[in-house]
Symmetry: C2
Subunit: 580 residues, 2 copies
C-alpha cells in the first residue's frame, strides 16, 4: 500500500488559534505532511486546553488544574514538530501578500503563509447590564476566566466561621455553561441564584422538558429567576459584594456574579481581511472549510454552518464539529481527500446535578420557525428493564415529519439519556424514519436496556400517530380539551385522587370495556381526550374507544408531561370527580 498524500507545494501552514479546531488541524496537517512548516499562533498563554472541562475544575471534581492543559508548546514540538507560539495575537491578515501580522509582548512581526487557517473561536456576548465591569463579575470561557473566578470563590470560602451564611452567587444565563457554573458553585457550597431571560432554563430544550431541570435546580437550593433580565450590578459592601437588580425589581445580593449569555463569532480579523462573512457575522466557508480566499481556511465557533433539517445558517459553537472541521481543513490544505462537511445537528448535552439533558436536531420552536410540519411524540420509558434494580425514567421527546422522517429529539433523565440521544443523533444523520427507529436492533440485557428500547418505543408511537392508528392531543391543547371534549383519565382511582384535570372523568383502563356506555353518555357527541400517566394505558383505551365508534385521541406524554407544563394541575383537586 502507498500513502495517498501526494507531495504538495505547501511550505508554511499558519494556524491562528491553538484550541479545538485549530490544534486538530495542526496535528492532522503534520501527520499528513512531514515536510511543511506548521506555525500555531495563540493569543493566550495556553493551547489545547480543555475548554469544556473548566466548570469541573471550578467545582473541584477535576482536582488538578494541570489536567485541563492537554498539551504544551513543548510537548507539541516533540511529538508533532509544531512551532506553537503562545502570547501571539494576530492583528491583521494580508491575503494578497499572504502574510499575517503577529503581536507579542516583545513587539510585532510579519509572518508569511502558504495556507492560513483561522480558528479564532468566539467571544462572550456582553449583555446590556449596568456595572458589568465590577470585579465581582466573572465569565467562564478561558483558563484566565477560571483562575479569576476560582480564586474569588476560594477567597470567599477561606477563613469563614463554620456557622457563617454561605456566600452567594448570581449566575446570569441558564444555557449549557451557565448550568454547569451553577452546579459547580453549588458544589463549592455557595448559595446560587440563576437568572434567565427566557421563560425556561436551557432555552434550546423544549419547554415541556425544562421543568424537570428547574425542579432539580430547586431541589439543590438554586433560586430560579426565569423570564427576567439582569439590569444592574451595583457595589454593595466593602467586601466586594454587589447587588444584582432584575427586571422584575428583585434585588439579589451576591458575592460573585457569573455571566454567560452566549457567544458571537470572533470574526473581526476575517472581516478586516476582506473575507466573506454571513449575515450572522460568522466566516463563510465551503464544504472543505475554505473561505472566500483560496489560501485561507476557517473552522470552529467563528464559522458559518448549515443546520440539519431546518437549513438555518449560522455559527454553532460546539467542540465536536470544531474538531472535525479542523481535521477537514488540514486535509484540504495539504491536498488530501476530504470528507465534506455535513449539516450540523447541534447535538449537545449537560449534566445538572443528578439529571442529564441532551438534544439533537432542531427543537419544536425551530421547526415551527422554519415552517416545517411535524408531529411530536413524548414518552417516559425506563432506561433499562423495569424489573431490574435502579431503572430510571427517561423523558424523551422526538419530532417527526409527516412522511415519518425523524427531525429532532430531546431527553432528560437520571441515566441512559446520553445513549438514547447518541442513537437518535445517528439515526437523524442517516435520515431514518419512525419505521426505522421501530426496527433498530439495540443491545439488550436487563442492566442495559429493554427488549423494546426507548428508541424503538419512539418509533412505535410515531408509527401509530403518523398512520392514524392512534391520533393524539397535546399538553398545549388543554384549554380546548377541557372546553370542547370529554377529558377521560384512565389511570387508577388512586392516581386520579393525587391530581387530575378538573373536568376529567376517571375510568381505569381495565374497566373501560365494561363502561363504554357511560363514557359515550359523558362524551355526549364530543370527542374524547384520553390520558393516563405516560400514554401507554391511554393508548389501549384510545384504541378501544375508536373501535367503539368514538372520536378519541391520546394525550402525548400523558399526565407526566401535562402536569409539567401546567404545574397548577399537580395540586390535588378538592373534590375528585370519580364516576359512580
Amino acid at each position: 500500500m502507498s500513502t495517498s498524500t501526494a507531495p504538495h507545494p505547501v511550505r508554511r501552514i499558519v494556524v491562528v488559534g491553538g484550541v479545538a479546531g485549530g490544534m486538530s488541524a495542526a496535528a492532522r496537517a503534520r501527520r499528513l505532511d512531514e515536510h511543511a512548516e506548521i506555525v500555531v499562533l495563540e493569543q493566550s498563554d495556553y493551547v489545547s486546553f480543555a475548554s469544556c472541562g473548566l466548570p469541573y475544575h471550578l467545582s473541584g471534581e477535576i482536582a488538578e488544574r494541570g489536567s485541563l492543559l492537554l498539551h504544551t508548546p513543548q510537548s507539541l514540538a516533540a511529538a508533532l514538530a509544531l512551532d506553537v507560539r503562545t502570547g501571539s495575537r494576530v492583528t491583521a491578515v494580508d491575503t494578497a501578500a499572504r502574510t499575517v501580522t503577529v503581536v507579542t509582548a516583545d513587539g510585532r512581526y510579519t509572518l508569511g503563509y502558504d495556507a492560513l487557517l483561522l480558528a479564532p473561536g468566539a467571544v462572550a456576548v456582553r449583555p446590556a447590564v449596568d456595572g458589568l465591569d465590577h470585579p465581582a463579575v466573572h465569565s467562564l470561557r478561558t483558563v484566565p476566566d477560571l483562575d479569576a473566578l476560582g480564586g474569588r470563590v476560594t477567597q470567599l470560602l477561606t477563613g469563614r466561621a463554620a456557622d457563617a451564611p454561605a456566600p452567594t452567587a448570581v449566575v446570569v444565563g441558564a444555557g449549557f455553561i451557565g448550568l454547569e457554573a451553577v452546579e459547580a458553585l453549588t458544589a463549592r457550597g455557595l448559595r446560587v441564584h440563576l437568572v434567565e431571560l427566557a421563560d425556561h432554563v436551557l432555552p434550546p430544550l423544549d419547554p415541556e422538558l425544562a421543568p424537570l431541570l428547574a425542579d432539580e435546580l430547586r431541589a439543590h437550593g438554586v433560586g430560579l429567576h426565569l423570564g427576567v433580565a439582569a439590569q444592574r450590578v451595583a457595589p454593595r459592601g466593602e467586601d466586594g459584594s454587589v447587588t444584582v437588580t432584575l427586571s422584575d425589581g428583585t434585588e439579589l445580593p451576591a458575592d460573585v456574579v457569573v455571566v454567560n449569555v452566549g457567544v458571537r463569532p470572533a470574526s473581526d480579523l476575517a472581516r478586516d481581511a476582506g473575507l466573506a462573512l454571513g449575515p450572522t457575522g460568522a466566516i463563510r466557508v465551503d464544504a472543505d472549510q475554505r473561505t472566500s480566499d483560496p489560501h485561507v481556511w476557517a473552522v470552529g465557533d467563528a464559522v458559518e454552518v448549515t443546520q440539519a433539517v431546518t437549513g438555518a445558517v449560522g455559527p454553532v459553537p460546539l467542540a465536536g464539529p470544531a474538531n472535525r472541521q479542523g481535521r477537514r481543513a488540514a486535509d484540504s490544505m495539504v491536498g488530501h481527500r476530504t470528507t465534506p462537511q455535513a449539516p450540523v445537528l447541534g447535538t449537545a448535552i449537560v449534566r445538572v446535578f443528578g439529571l442529564t439533558a441532551a438534544v439533537t436536531g432542531p427543537n419544536q420552536a425551530a421547526l415551527t420557525r422554519a415552517g416545517l410540519d411535524h408531529e411530536v411524540v413524548r414518552i417516559h420509558p425506563a432506561h433499562h428493564a423495569g424489573y431490574f434494580p435502579g431503572a430510571e425514567q427517561i423523558h424523551l421527546v422526538a419530532t417527526f415529519a409527516p412522511d415519518g422522517r425523524l427531525l429532532g429529539a430531546q431527553a432528560v433523565g437520571r441515566d441512559g439519556v446520553d445513549k438514547r440521544i447518541d442513537v437518535l443523533a445517528t439515526a437523524l444523520r442517516a435520515g431514518m424514519t419512525a419505521d426505522d427507529l421501530a426496527e433498530l436492533e439495540l443491545a439488550y440485557a436487563p442492566p442495559y436496556g429493554s427488549a423494546k428500547d426507548p428508541v424503538n418505543m419512539l418509533g412505535f408511537v410515531a408509527q401509530n400517530v403518523l398512520d392514524g392508528t392512534t391520533p393524539q392531543w397535546h399538553p398545549a391543547d388543554l384549554d380546548a380539551a377541557r372546553a370542547d371534549t370529554l377529558v377521560l383519565d384512565v389511570r387508577s382511582p388512586g392516581e386520579f385522587a393525587r391530581g387530575h384535570v378538573p373536568e376529567a372523568l376517571n375510568v381505569p383502563h381495565t374497566e373501560l370495556r365494561g363502561r363504554l356506555d357511560e363514557v359515550r353518555a359523558a362524551a355526549a357527541g364530543r370527542p374524547v381526550s384520553v390520558h393516563c400517566a405516560s400514554g401507554v394505558r391511554s393508548h389501549i383505551a384510545t384504541r378501544v374507544l375508536l373501535q367503539a365508534g368514538l372520536d378519541a385521541r391520546n394525550l402525548s406524554g400523558g399526565w407526566l408531561t401535562l402536569s409539567a407544563v401546567h404545574p397548577s394541575l399537580a395540586q390535588p383537586a378538592a373534590t375528585p370527580r370519580t364516576a359512580a
Copy 2:
C-alpha cells in the same frame, strides 16, 4: 384523523407461546382489533415472564421472584381482553381444518383459528455428556429451571459452618447465559468453574477481546477450562455432589452443574404441521412473518432470519427481534400496514462482573467464512474525556469493507460500551461508512464522552487505513513481523521495559525524527512494523517513516491487543533491547 385499521374478517387469533414474541403479538393484535377473539396457549404455568432476568434473580440482584412475572392471565384479560391459557400445550396443527389440538392437565381439546401465530421459542441443546440426568445438573432458561437451580443453591448455602469451604459449581458453556450464570453463582458465594469447548469465552466475541473477559472471570475466582468438553457427570458423594470429567482429563468436583450450550428452534410442531422449515430446522417465514401456510405466522427463536452483512440464514435467539417480529405478525394478521423485517444484526450484550461485552453484526470469523474482504480497526479510547475523573478504557474492534462500509463492531469495557455498540448498531443498519462514522455528531460534555468520540475515532482510523494513509499490521502477523521486518516500538523506555517483542527496537515517538538514520539502518531494507500501546503514537511514527521513504505500517490495536493475543509477551524480557 381516522384509524387505518380496516375491519378484517379475522374472528379468532390463536397464539402458541405466551412470552416475548407471542405476547407482543397478542397485545398488538388486541390494540388493532377490538373485535377478534384472541387466545394465547402457553404450555408452562407462566406467561410474559422476564426470561432475560432469570440470572439476576438467581444472583439475588432482583430480590423478588414476582418481579420477573410481568403479567398474569388475569392482568392480560383485564387490560387487553386476552384469553390466556397456561398449562396448555399444543400438540398438533391441522392447517387444512385450521385447528390446533390443545393438551391440558384435564385432557385435550381442539380449537379452531382464523389466524395462527406460532411462537414456540427454542429448546436447550443437550450436549453429549454422560450423566446429564443427575439431579445436580440444571439449566437456566425457564422459571421452573430457575426455581430448581435457585433451590439447590439455597440448600447448599443453608446451615453451613462459617468456615466451611464454598460449595462448587461447574458451568458448561461460556455463552451469554452461561456467563450470566457464572456471575450469579459467584455472587451467591459459590466457587465456580466454567467449561467452554471453544478456545475463548463468549464465542461470538472476536478472540482478541475475549482475554479481557477471561481476566475478569479469573479475578473473581472463576476457574476457566477453555478448549475442552465436559464428558461425564458422575455421582460423587451422598450429599448429591458430582464429579465432572473434562476431555483433558480434569476432574471437577461440583455441588451443582449448570449446562447452557445453546438452543435449537422448537419447530417440531411446525414441521409436523407440514410448514416449510429451513436447513437449520427453523421455521421459514416471509418479511411479514407468514409461514408457508397463508393462515399461519411464526416469530421468535423458532424462525429463520437473514443475518445482516453476511446474508447467512438461520435462527437468532434474541429478545429484541422476537418482540418486533410479534408486533409485525400482529399487523399482518389483522391486515394493518407492516414494517417488513430487516436483516438481523445480532446485537447482543452481557455483563461479566465489572465488564460489559457487546457485539453487533458479524464477527471476524463470520466475515471470513462468508468470504467478505474486510479491514479490522482496533482502538482503546477512554469512555469519556480522559481528564474527567473515572475515565475507563473501551476496547473497540470494528470491521469495514474495502469501500468503507461498516460491517460489524464489538466492544469490551467497564463503562460506555452499551452506548457505543448501540450507536454502531444504528450506523450498521443505516449502511454507514468510515466517513460517516468520522462525521457523526454525538453528545459531548466531559462526563459523557469526548469531542472526538470513540465512534468518531473508529471512523478516523478506518479512513486512514482504507485510503492508504496509514497501512496496518495485525496481532496475528506477529511471527512474520518478527521474522521479516523491523519491529519498532515507539513507546517510552519505561513502557518498553515492562514487556515488549523480543526483537523490537525501542525509539520513543518523540525522538523518532532525530533518529531516522538509526531506524533506517536497523531496518536494513526490510519493512518496519511499528507499534505503541494503543496505536495513537505509532500512527504519528508510521506517518513520519512513510514520508521518510520507509515501508512502514502501524499495529492495529497496539501493544494492548498484541499482548492480549500473545500473553507470553506480557512477561518482561530478561534483557530489554534499547537502542544506544
